[in-house]
Amino acid sequence: MSTTADHVEHADHDHGDHGDHAPEAHAHEHKPDSYYVKIALILAAITALETSTYWVDFGAFFLPTLLILMAIKFVMVASLFMHLRGDSKIFSYLFYSGLILAIGVYVAFLATFRFFAST
């Protein structure tokens, strides 16, 4: 298996061969496979914890627990599997601006239904 340093060198070499591609496209560091397997195991454990809320009564912590676990999984996949953490910041801005706009759409929907439902 190649080392992380080899992967970085490999990525740099690719950019050298194909100068017509944006250098930020995959300028991130390629990790060894075991790194991704560890992340997947953590994600699987979080999913198991989420599913346990179906059988175990978390009381007042039920909703916050689920929302926090969902956010952790989302950020882990986006930043580590989609490599947002190592890529150009502009990709993060583009992706998360879409997400923030989507949340804005929900808030606007909710407000519309709440305030104008009786009219």
């Binding site: 690719d14 999913t47 989420e50 599913t51």
Partner: protein, 177 residues
Amino acid sequence: MAMWMFLGSECLLFGGLISTYMLYRGRHPADLGPDQVFDIPFTSVSSFVLLMSSLTMVLAVSSAAQKDDRRTNLWLTVTALLGATFVGGQVYEFTSFYREGLGFTSSLFSSSFFTLTGFHGVHVTVGIIMLMALVGINKRGRIPGDKAEVVELVGLYWHFVDVVWIIIFTLVYLIPS
């Protein structure tokens, strides 16, 4: 850049669909709502399968970066198979809901639920087609330009459908109406 702009716009699409579901999920007959029809253990297994397909996808990207065509094709094929398993589970779920009397037009809840999860299922199906097409053209050695970058772009799309399901699984299935 274009791919990230596309994914940002997809966030808006699913944001609208999830918002609609959240607003209408309480609009259903007393005996045919989410609490009566959802099979959480089954959907949890489906979610796990899709989550693991993200792992195999990132392994395909990693293999492509190492210019290992055989492993790239192997992981892409495994990813497509896991995706097909997820879609198969969704078809089974939809069929069982329909047999229980929950049709597309049964209630506002069912319409918004089938639209949201159906749109997601179509996205996964498109992803499977992209993966298999990628395996086909990679075997023929016809991927233009930087092969690792092409695999990574398809990977971004695949991870996106996974993160959307992470949200759907929690908001739609796990949080009761």
